[in-house]
Symmetry: C2
């Protein structure tokens, strides 16, 4: 290694982070902006070059003496840049949204548990409400009709109890979530909320086409799966000025893949207006992560500790229609995607 | 007006904002996410419908009695969502970056003044440093070689005095800025900083092609002008993983135009990884705004007060190469664009 060595982005992030102290695998992943598929070889290389090692008792990663010397000669003392008050998100929950979080937590405590077999995995409760607050800020919530495609996060409930939207329609494949949503709507007299069973591969029912101001989804991240989720959302929108929201992860989608996925958005007459990095954090079950055979664990080749942070995160995207909706997959067609709906080379936190 | 009326996004933002008190034209523009060309008719409509009026002494906009009644029946009490600590940006200046701002302000106090005839207009000094801090956060600054295309903001100087980049090259048409940058470099012994005269319409000199890790620019916002600035930046990049940063305004670029501009990025092998809304605020000269015949003032048809806030703002974009650089305009070609480089239907803060 010479002083002129160009560090890869991943290696730079790891070394910069370890200069501040030991970090678990999960803490390192939290900061990365590369796919797990790309990151694992980078981390292995740092281990093989003996710049980084693991603390044998905690399994956290630390700098070796050699690594410390190398890092100090290449990297200045790390500086915190994220705002500590909002954790870098730029928005905070106060007033009605603080109350909403309190209320939502009570409801979510009885929620149906996530089923990895359905590729479920919901965001932190606070993130659900931050998402709601953001749509409010952007003028996409109050007085609006909202379509939610897939809702293990219970965003539909959160939006409805805010009292702000005119209507919230949840379309979801898991009947437990549909029932739970409708039950909450009934118990709380939320006339603006309802849920229906919907498989994203089926045609979008006619009554839901061109009928909404805003869609929200948390799509699978294969090219075709993503295109399908967004197609259903777009098909639900009224027209120019209508908006959509979704997350896109780093760990299961490289920027190469983002490029492909984003292109599809522009072909659908959508423009990306906001990308908030690392905005959405997911409360995935640590037991599942360790024991389901996910490649994010199995491919590393060294043992790691149980997840100690909510490491899986995604960039929150807002898109807006600049013309008529042009879904990639037509609204009236059933699209028969099998395992390739969920699974590609970068699906490292997804069941085979 | 009925209770079921769908408010336009612009009208909703104006009424929601006026529920919190009187607002100057400039304060209203600051919050908008639509072009001035689209906004002005919306504001005029609210005046004509007598929902909004102007305070005769301050020229600020206020709700009429009718407007107040209407707003209260459609819009709930406005809730602050932006983080007050970082003003919604998600990042803050502390430690070395706080010191950097202090140092930069001293240098910038002697800067060459902006010349509207060159389509100049620089960002607030704090924004220049926030921009530097963001590139650091993203791993695009430390140890990197940086190319700046057009630098009335003096970002090159700010980056160089941070001591973090390996090299900073400023290419700029205005020889005052080139001289000032080289003078500061000399006085402060900044060996990593230099500036050269460059007209973006000229071919990118061969020594600058495929030679940088990061480019930064604040492009003009016509389709061809934007494509040209980004083409020069991209042509300067080494390859996959290299990044670029630029701003895109709301007031001079509708989302329809964003859609066209963004498409060009994807054609150039760039993917957008971050869009931070309203991140960059510009310190434009209020006298120029009022007296240069800009359409943003002249087309409104009512008198307004002198700008009382830094209202002109843009969304900060980060892009990353996912393959080889593919500039829209080849690096070795002179591109003869005339007034259409600067001017289109949405150029409302640009000289004829």
């Amino acid at each position: 290694m010479t002083a002129d060595l160009k560090l890869s982005k991943s290696a730079y992030f790891v070394l910069r982070s370890l200069l501040t102290g030991p970090k678990s695998y999960w803490e390192l992943l939290l900061e990365q902006e590369t796919s797990g598929r790309n990151f694992i070889p980078e981390l292995r290389k740092l281990l093989e070059e003996e710049l980084v090692t693991q603390d044998p008792s905690t399994r956290k990663f630390i700098l070796t003496e050699k690594g410390k010397e190398f890092a100090l000669s290449h990297i200045s003392t790390p500086e915190v840049v994220y705002c500590p008050h909002c954790k870098g998100r730029g928005i905070v929950l106060s007033g009605r949204f603080k109350d909403l979080l309190h209320e939502f937590k009570k409801i979510a405590s009885n929620r149906p548990r996530a089923i990895p077999e359905y590729d479920q995995g919901y965001v932190e409760e606070e993130v659900t409400i931050l998402r709601v607050a953001y749509t409010y800020l952007k003028g996409d919530l109050e007085g609006k009709e909202i379509l939610i495609i897939g809702d293990d996060d219970l965003t539909g409930i959160a939006m409805a109890i805010s009292g702000l939207p005119k209507k919230v329609m949840v379309l979801e494949a898991d009947e437990r979530i549909v029932e739970y949503t409708n039950q909450v709507a009934k118990e709380r007299g939320l006339n603006n909320l309802s849920a229906e069973i919907f498989d994203v591969r089926d045609p979008l029912p006619e009554k839901h086409r061109n009928a909404y101001d805003t869609f929200i989804t948390d799509p699978v991240e294969t090219l075709e799966g993503f295109s399908l989720f967004i197609s259903r959302g777009v098909a639900g929108l009224r027209g120019e000025g209508a908006s959509g929201y979704f997350g896109l992860s780093y760990v299961e989608s490289s920027f190469r893949k983002w490029h492909q996925l984003h292109r599809r958005l522009y072909d659908m007459n959508l423009v990306i207006t906001d990308i908030l990095p690392h905005f959405q954090h997911y409360a995935l079950n640590p037991d599942d992560i360790m024991n389901k055979g996910y490649r994010i664990v199995d491919r590393l080749g060294v043992e790691v500790n149980y997840p100690d942070v909510n490491w899986y995160n995604s960039a929150f995207h807002r898109v807006e229609l600049v013309g008529d909706p042009k879904p990639h997959y037509p609204a009236d067609q059933r699209i028969d995607l099998g395992r390739e709906l969920y699974f590609d080379d970068e699906a490292y936190v997804t069941l085979y």
